[in-house]
Amino acid sequence: MCTNFEVHRNWLAITHSLPISQWYYEATSEWTLDYPPFFAWFEYALSHVAKYFDQEMLNVHNLNYSSSRTLLFQRFSVIFTDALFVYAVHECCKCVDGKKACKELTEKPKFILSVLLLWNFGLLIVDHIHFQYNGFLFGLMLLSIARLFQKRHMEGAFLFAVLLHFKHIYLYVAPAYGIYLLRSYCFTANKPDGSIRWNSFSFVRLISLGLTVFLVSALSLGPFLALNQLPQVFSRLFPFKRGLCHAYWAPNFWAVYNALDKVLSVIGLQLKLLDPKKIPKASMTSGLVQQFQHTVLPSVTPLVTLICTLIAILPSIFCLWFKPQGPRGFLRCLILCALSSFMFGWHVHEKAILLAILPMSLLSVGKAGDASIFLILSTTGHYSLFPLLFTAPELPIKILLMLLFTIYSISSLKTLFRKEKPLFNWMETFYLLGLGPLEVFCEFVFPFTSWKLKYPFIPLLLTSVYCAVGITYAWFKLYVSVFTDPPVGKTKKQ
């Protein structure tokens, strides 16, 4: 059973059987509560249903407990909370303008968008096979985006604040929200050339926004502030003691960096330039979260990653401020924030790529250029999730689901934009097709070669480096398109 299942079971037990003052101190299991308070309350609410299924799973000391009823309850809880996600998708589909008159239901942008979101491969395997509650959290995010599209800014801000207190990973995209609300909601008017009109600033709006966010935070963190536990809560939420990369390397900049380091050290050993005794034995891919020391290249500290992330985010923020393009511009900025932090963040999990893929689906049905970025991003991003499912029975499932989603997304978007130029150039096509041989090599060829014992990390390394290339490319392409696009949003908006 995957660890995430045990994590959530443990949280159910903690929140159910302990007083609130103990929640963030409990450490019987290594999987301590490291989500913000709202999520803890959510688990608390779930535990009151869970007790009718199996009382035993609510015992804190019952580590690695699993029964068929526990399993049933946990799985069903995910499916039921997914209802929110479905509702959010429904709302998002309303925001897509159906200018293109198609008679066929299956060729309507709305239909395609709903399939892209509901059948999202990553979400399916992370939530329903691997086990997490991402569906409902992403539901909140999509809902808040939809509210911003519908010009219901206060609601959007409220939903996002709530979301932040469910899972703090969404802090990555908070800059986009902050700047957009400030620029497009607090300033009520623009000059004719699109630049800011300073005297249109509305204090009432700013204060009401601030109040909303403050109230939500107070509700969430207030009890812990009263108990004087805030530092403990924060130390649990931001565990900088973990390594630069997660157990499986997320396909980001650091994966390439680490791979380079590894290759250099191997070469160095071969050429006798390095002393074998000085090389740390720890292998990053052994499956446990641990520190990793670089052998050749300089080691990376959390501060460095923070600075890199900020630098990567800044241009998109600037763009959002100086070249506002309405909600679509905001959405682009949000995706860029998510992608940039994925590229350079500290201890990024490969699941975090969903944070960029799901909002990107919204953009993809609007414009051919975005569609092509989305396809590259989603295909490589989803492929990088493959190592999450590593047992043999899961192999056909992941391959089939991946094929299902990829074939559908590529061909439906191609049909949607058939009048425009092809979505991929030859290089991109070649790259995407390369994923096939890579999978065959990693899953079917490599286990039978003699390298399996000597270099067990090679499939993971290849996967993350190969995917890192694609994701970096998509990131660049999106940045370029944000800067070079003519501000069409303005004319469309008014």
Partner: protein, 532 residues
């Protein structure tokens, strides 16, 4: 085809559903000493791999026929042999003679599932896709929807074993209806050689081809065609049976294994005539064994004769498909030694007419899946069956909008109601009645499922629920039969079914002996994804 990608998506979806279902438990998992069908398949691999071909069907010290002896035709045995070679390559323990009995492990389960999936992928799925592409007079969208529904049919997915032969039969239907007569008859012969149950379908094939020959004129082209067809059939049979023709005893022994007439009239609870009648009359005790055989044979023949005669005189692909349904159904209801799983042989042709009479077919397919519930519960397959049935129902309901197509025209009951109206002028409420019947039957199914799962059956009547289930199936059949060949041919059986379908159930349960319902069900875990 411009919508190829949707078709691919449909196929992938079908495969995904199949694989997720296969992660669940299997027949006879962890239940020594006999285990279940899973063990039977594995045992066949063991036998075919380790013994010379002459001993496959004979009882010997190495081959105990009481323990899942081979009782399928040669092609099945060859297939097992093929799988056994692969198994030998992966892990010889899986098929070691004697010592591998009851072998169970995760890896082996994976291997067995993979063999089914691969057979499915190679035979059944291409046939379904091709069938849907060959359908005439409907739009591409409808074709894809049709493929989706057929591929999602839960009964087949859940039983998961007999796939291979069904696939071949489908190829046969396809070949014949597309005018590739030789290919079709070849495929069908292979199917018969894969599983003798396929004989259920043989009569329509024969009549249809014969009718075609007649149509072309017996003296000229028709005769040539006839000779060609006969040649194909003989050749394919000879090829399959070649190793067994060396001795007379061999061939006879194989035949004896294939048609075990010494078993009873029916096993467990089967939703057919005999089981229903035995509520009133204990036929098993009243009539001697050989008389039972003769009676069942005559009744079967009698019930399928009209449809076959009609097909021979007026051969058409459409009539052919309908005759397939009715013949298989007659066999299922009247013939000797029927197993619950045989309903699949009826369901398959029903799948073929799905696009023509969506309402009735959906109803039938749902009920047929439901009729296997006791079997599925025994294998711990409740959760996947509920999920797949729901998915199937939703797929059918949305792609054919079944509830709007219940006019007399669409139910193909026009001629029937017109003829009734001659005597009863106010007979116009049939579609409405059928609609209500459908809803009632669906509700009954849901309730029965809930009851079976949650309540322990009353001590006195351990089989109450399974009998209820089989009754439900029998009572849902008549409307389908009603419309299949026209009113003049079916009026007799209909009344029979109605009488058999509504016996008082409590009384009925007293008379049944075998306990098939297992209340210690558990819910499999992996399979918890709704297919939205």
């Amino acid at each position: 085809m411009e919508k190829w990608y949707l078709m691919t998506a449909v196929v992938l979806l079908g495969l995904t559903v199949r694989w997720t279902v296969s992660l669940n438990s299997y027949s006879g998992a962890g239940k020594p000493p006999m285990f279940g069908d899973y063990e039977a398949q594995r045992h066949w691999q063991e036998i075919t791999f380790n013994l010379p071909i002459k001993q496959w069907y004979f009882n010997s010290s190495d081959n105990n026929l009481q323990y899942w002896g081979l009782d399928y035709p040669p092609l099945t045995a060859y297939h097992s042999l093929l799988c056994a070679y692969v198994a030998q390559f992966i892990n010889p323990d899986w098929i070691a003679l004697h010592s591998s009995r009851g072998y169970e492990s995760q890896a082996h389960k994976l291997f067995m599932r993979a063999t089914v999936l691969i057979a499915d992928l190679l035979i059944y799925i291409p046939a379904v896709v091709l069938h849907c592409c060959c359908l005439k007079e409907i739009s591409t969208k409808k074709k894809i929807a049709n493929a989706l529904c057929i591929l999602l049919y839960p009964g087949l997915i859940l039983i998961d074993y007999g796939h291979f032969h069904l696939g071949l039969a489908l190829w046969g239907v396809l070949g014949v209806s597309c005018d590739w007569d030789l290919l079709g008859s070849l495929a069908f012969c292979l199917a018969v050689n894969y599983k003798q149950m396929e004989l259920y379908h043989s009569l329509p094939f024969f009549c249809f081809l014969l009718g075609k020959c007649f149509k072309k004129g017996l003296k000229g082209k028709g005769f040539v065609l006839f000779v060609k067809l006969a040649g194909t059939v003989v050749a394919s049979f000879t090829l399959c049976w070649l190793p067994f023709f060396t001795e007379r005893a061999q061939a006879l022994q194989v035949l004896r294994r294939l048609f075990p007439v010494d078993r009873g009239l029916f096993e467990d609870k089967v939703a057919n005539i005999w089981c229903s009648v035995s509520v009133f009359l204990k036929i098993k005790d009243i009539l001697p064994h050989h008389v039972q055989i003769i009676v069942s044979f005559c009744l079967t023949l009698l019930s399928l004769l009209p449809a076959c005669v009609k097909l021979t005189l007026q051969p058409s692909p459409k009539g052919f498909r309908f005759t397939l349904v009715s013949c298989a159904l007659s066999f299922f209801l009247f013939s000797f030694q029927v197993h619950e799983k045989s309903i699949l042989l009826v369901s398959l042709p029903v799948c073929l007419v799905l696009s023509e009479i969506p309402f009735m077919s959906t109803w039938f397919l749902l009920v047929s899946t439901f009729s296997m519930l006791p079997l599925l519960l025994k294998d711990d397959l409740l959760m996947p069956s509920v999920v797949t049935t729901m998915a199937f129902f939703i797929a059918c309901a949305t792609s054919f909008s079944i509830f709007e197509k219940t006019s007399e025209e669409e139910l193909r009951l026009k001629s029937f109601s017109v003829s009734v109206r001659k005597h009863l002028p106010r007979f116009t409420f049939l579609p409405r009645i059928i609609q209500h019947l459908f809803i009632i039957s669906v509700i009954t199914m849901v309730l029965l499922t809930l009851m079976t799962v949650t309540l322990d059956p009353p001590q006195k009547l351990p089989d109450l629920f399974s009998v209820l289930i089989s009754t439900e199936l029998t009572s849902a059949n008549p409307p389908l039969l009603l419309r299949k060949t026209g009113p003049e041919l079916t009026s007799v059986p209909i009344f029979l079914y109605f009488i058999c379908g509504t016996p008082t159930t409590a009384w009925c349960a007293k008379r049944c002996h075998v306990r098939t319902q297992d209340s210690n069900w558990q819910t499999p875990g992996r399979q918890s994804r709704t297919y939205t």
